[in-house]
């Protein structure tokens, strides 16, 4: 649209995917955005983007660029990498390309939230969609995360402030506890805090789980006693919500944290009800996990080279990419982990995605496409796997789906399989 107001737009700035966003468009640009947090405002920007298609630095048409991407994908070993800001329709089209050419397939999850997903595969999960938190939680425990920093509306929209069916007084009806692990602080708005270190965190989680399961504990250090006492408080709640950040931050984190929290949440469903909410970054990362799972069986780190999907979760994409001859990045290239970007040095790289032509490294092919939820309509998944319709706000370049279909057509016409 060139002018008008879009109500109930869905922001993919972070995994909260707030869908009460109001966007005003004038002269084909985003003039204002209401209800978005600073992360969302930065994500929307003014809606302008680049609209170039380049082959080794020179402007070409999409079909010519797509043909080169097809050739590049046949230069094995190849990887297709899902970056953020794609609709699931585009993610599915990208997965199809990887399947067709027997490539490796991975996503940002591989270098960020993987440990939590793998923990889930070992143990399972006890979780809920965000509306259950809003409507039921009477005790919130923020484990080494303050959502205000990277998920600014999580507390006001989903967790702490809103009135709920079982929490008619909103924030006044909830108790908030922060568990600080080293310098990774829990919610600043907590009414009480428990201080742990990286060194004693795993033991604390074990003590908490043992407390919930009624096991006898010997003498505990003050920190572990505080943890045990927190577990006892949680057992007395009606609906406990444990919140952690599944994404890495500047503070170091134990990769076993997610598994420990999962075990604790599961155990708490004996004496009471408990769910673990895992915060995720933006750009439809949960959508990539979901689409990869239903198409391949695995949420990330897939290897199609034997003719069927194989799981390679033991190796993050940042390592795998260094062994590839060619890499196709699909999605917002500037939102991929730095370690993946560094691993591209010496690879033949093509990018199909928002601002592909502005990639911070050399590319052979760059096809600019739009951002899901700004330039491209489709489906985006919230951090709790609820699928939402993301709208097109302003016109953009060729869609990611169309560009990927052009690559698929090029592969078909040359009989690649």
């Amino acid at each position: 649209m060139t002018a008008g107001t879009i109500e109930h737009a869905v922001c993919l700035g972070c995994g909260c995917a707030c869908d009460d966003i109001e966007v005003v468009v004038r002269d084909g640009r985003i003039a204002s955005v209401r209800n978005a947090c600073p992360v969302g405002l930065a994500w929307y920007g003014d809606g302008t983007t680049t609209t170039l298609v380049k082959l080794r630095g020179s402007a070409v048409g999409v079909d010519a660029a797509a043909a080169e991407v097809a050739k590049l994908l046949r230069t094995g070993p190849a990887m297709v990498y899902l970056a953020p800001d794609l609709t699931t329709e585009a993610q599915r089209a990208a997965i199809a390309l990887a399947d067709r050419v027997g490539a490796r397939l991975d996503s940002v999850t591989s270098d960020t939230a993987a440990s939590g997903l793998v923990a889930g595969q070992r143990r399972g999960r006890a979780t809920a969609t965000l509306g259950e938190i809003r409507n039921r939680a009477d005790v919130l425990v923020f484990w080494a995360v303050d959502p205000d920093v990277r998920y600014p509306r999580f507390l006001s929209r989903y967790a702490l402030d809103p009135v709920g069916t079982q929490v008619p007084d909103g924030a006044a009806g909830r108790k908030v506890v922060a568990v600080d692990v080293g310098d990774a602080r829990g919610a600043a708005r907590a009414g009480s805090r428990v201080a742990l270190t990286l060194a004693n965190e795993a033991a604390a989680l074990a003590v908490m789980r043992a407390t919930v399961m009624g096991r006898a504990l010997g003498d505990l250090s003050p920190a572990l006693e505080a943890a045990a006492e927190l577990a006892r408080q949680m057992m007395g709640a009606r609906y406990v919500v444990l919140v952690h950040d599944a994404e890495p931050s500047s503070s170091p984190a134990d990769p076993q944290r997610a598994e420990g929290l999962t075990g604790l949440a599961q155990a708490l469903n004996g004496p009471t009800r408990c769910v673990l909410s895992s915060l995720r970054g933006g750009g439809n990362r949960s959508g990539a996990d979901s689409a990869m799972t239903w198409q391949t069986g695995f949420p990330f780190a897939v290897d199609f080279s034997s003719g069927a999907p194989r799981y390679r979760a033991e190796e993050p994409a940042s390592t795998t990419v260094t062994r590839m001859a060619s890499v196709l990045i699909v999605g917002a290239v500037r939102r991929i982990p730095d370690e993946v970007a560094r691993g591209l040095a010496g690879r033949r790289v093509a990018v199909i995605g928002p601002r592909a032509s502005d990639a911070p490294f050399a590319t052979e092919v760059a096809i600019d496409t739009g951002v899901a939820g700004i330039h491209e309509a489709g489906i985006g998944y919230r951090l709790d796997d609820v699928p939402l319709p993301v709208p097109q706000i302003v016109a953009g370049p060729i869609s990611a789906v169309a560009a990927l279909q052009a690559v698929a057509a090029a592969l078909r016409s040359t009989g690649a399989a």
């Binding site: 969609t129 509306g131 599961q266 239903w294 198409q295």
Partner: protein, 551 residues
């Protein structure tokens, strides 16, 4: 062989129970995706002489394309690793062949290929949380070869419970109609009415249909009444599809019979009935109550069931019934997923295995077979394993053998643990053997009729040209596991036992009319308690025209 617009399937023994044809050798003629009366000479022909011809299979109840299933897939990488599924060598490249993985919950493309490989051409995902319906439609877009739809979970949803508490049945009916349209659903699915909300709210479960939910006046009986009447008043093609309270518990047949009696005289379908037919008492012992329950079903033509047979081997329990899965987790120690789904329902997943040496598993196996073998009307007793809960849909051929071959049943019984089979009709000797005609009923004609799909499950003129051709084999399981030919919407998709084409199927959904005044109330409800805006809730662009209502 090229796929023409016209195709004659010549000389096979046709089993088309809906049209009274029981093994008659005759041609089946196809033109433009439909069955026609005749075709000119020289039409491309499939030689089916000596073979058995049936309509394509119709799976009334399976879990294969939903958010819950996907969480199940994610939970089981070890199963996928053990069962890689390379892309088939198709003759057409559009849509392109895709690889995948199997196990108890295969990936979407593999699911479509494997169903077609069994000769199934229509299937329904039986449990979709409304807020996740958009996910289901994405998965169905990636599941080729099946005409497919979904049943939408109601009965623990916040809005409905409020209407029931307030006595607002008319508004409840409009809400049900709105919900089916908003989700692109086909039928109303009820799971543990009120029990899932009880689990989420801390009451843990509702095990009696007259037990109140919290401090409210709402009971499972009231929920069942409201939804059953809504579905019947809306003249939906398939009635309420009910997974009753107290699944999987010793003595639960009493709850099942109470539920059926509560709905006596009203159309209703009771699903995976096997899991609801246990005698005995919790903590004290188990027995089979299949005889008692099927006797009731036999006497109530307004009720239909699918069996939910347990097959020995691996399974994955995937259900909205959160409290049941918590119990299974706490007694089995296996991995466990629980997801509370806001304002609507739940999800529980526990991988499982039914072992012949386990007494309870043997009892479950026996109960299912008793339901089949004691049923008087095969048109109302559908074959299912509640895939993947009782076993994979790939076990249907083995189940068919058990139904058709008493010796096969007896041989399996000898290997099983008889500890809980005292008084079981199967252990006492049930000699009935299903005929091919009865198999055609319980796997095709019956479910199609119960689903209100006039064009499915039959080979009369005008029917959809979904046809399966089996080469006769003394090994019944092998015969049904590998059809020689499968035709889907008039196109030959399996030839000489090989998958050759994988076209997309149709989406089957309904869109009942409703009074727009309910929308105002719903908007208010969403604004007050929801986290998804009303305007973002409905699935847009559900493909295909809705199935007619009231026909």
């Amino acid at each position: 062989m090229a796929t023409p617009e016209r195709l004659r399937i010549a000389g096979g023994a046709v089993h088309d129970p809906a049209n009274g044809i029981d093994g008659e050798v005759r041609d089946v003629c196809i033109e433009d995706g439909r069955i026609v009366a005749s075709l000119p000479a020289g039409t491309p022909t499939v030689d089916a002489r000596g073979m058995v011809v049936m309509p394509g299979g119709v799976d009334i109840h399976a879990h294969f394309a939903s958010s819950s299933c996907n969480h199940g897939r994610r939970l089981l990488p070890e199963e996928h690793a053990a069962d890689p599924v390379p892309a088939p060598a198709l003759l057409d490249d559009e849509p392109p062949a895709r690889s995948g993985t199997g196990g108890t919950i295969p990936t979407t493309f593999a699911t479509g290929y494997r169903y077609a490989g069994l000769g199934y051409t229509t299937a329904f995902d039986a449990a979709v949380a409304p807020i996740m319906a958009r996910h289901t439609h994405e998965e169905l877009d990636d599941t080729p070869l099946l005409d497919a739809g979904c049943f939408v979970l109601l009965g623990n949803d916040e809005y409905l419970l409020r209407q029931i508490a307030a006595g607002e049945q008319e508004r409840a009916r409009h809400y049900v109609a709105w919900m089916l349209g908003a989700t692109g659903g086909y039928a109303v699915k009820i799971v543990n009415p009120g029990g899932i909300e009880a689990w989420k709210a801390g009451q843990r479960n509702l095990t009696d249909i007259d037990q109140a939910l919290g401090a409210s006046s709402v009971t499972p009986r009231a929920i069942l009444d409201s939804l059953t009447d809504a579905a019947n008043d809306l003249k939906l093609p398939h009635p309420v599809h009910i997974h009753g309270n107290n699944l999987g518990q010793a003595g639960n047949s009493a709850t099942t019979l109470a539920t059926m009696q509560a709905l006596a005289g009203r159309r209703a379908h009771f699903t995976h009935l096997q899991f609801h037919c246990y005698g005995g008492e919790a903590g004290k012992g188990w027995s089979s109550a299949a005889s008692k329950v099927i006797e009731y079903v036999n006497g109530h033509p307004e009720h239909s069931v699918d069996v939910g047979q347990v097959m020995f081997g691996p399974a994955t329990t995937v259900t909205a019934d959160g409290p049941v899965e918590y119990l299974l987790y706490s007694t089995s120690g296996r991995k466990w997923v629980n997801i509370d789904v806001e304002m609507e329902t739940g999800c529980g997943i526990v991988p499982y295995s039914y072992r012949e040496k386990a007494a309870v598993a043997t009892l479950q196996w026996a109960v299912g077979l008793e339901l089949f073998l004691l049923a008087k009307d095969p048109w109302r007793v559908v074959l299912s394993t509640d895939h993947p809960n009782g076993g994979s849909f790939l076990s249907y051929p083995a189940l068919i053998r058990l139904l058709m071959d008493r010796t096969a049943r007896e041989e399996q019984l000898k290997l099983a643990n008889p500890k809980l089979l005292a008084g079981s009709a199967l252990a006492d000797g049930l000699s009935r053997e299903y005929s091919l005609n009865e198999i055609a009923i319980v796997t095709r004609a019956g479910p199609a009729r119960l689903l209100g799909l006039a064009g499915k499950g039959q080979l009369g003129v005008g029917a959809d040209a979904d046809v399966t051709v089996y080469a006769r084999d003394g090994d019944i399981a092998r015969m049904f596991a590998s059809p020689r030919y499968v035709i889907k919407a008039g196109r030959l998709v399996v030839e000489e036992g090989q998958l050759r084409r994988a076209p997309r199927g149709r989406r089957l959904h309904v869109r009942p009319g409703f009074d727009q005044s309910v929308v105002r109330d719903l908007r208010k409800h969403f604004e007050t308690f929801g986290t998804v805006a009303y305007d973002n809730y409905a699935v847009r662009d559900v493909p295909g025209e809705p199935v007619a209502i009231g026909s």
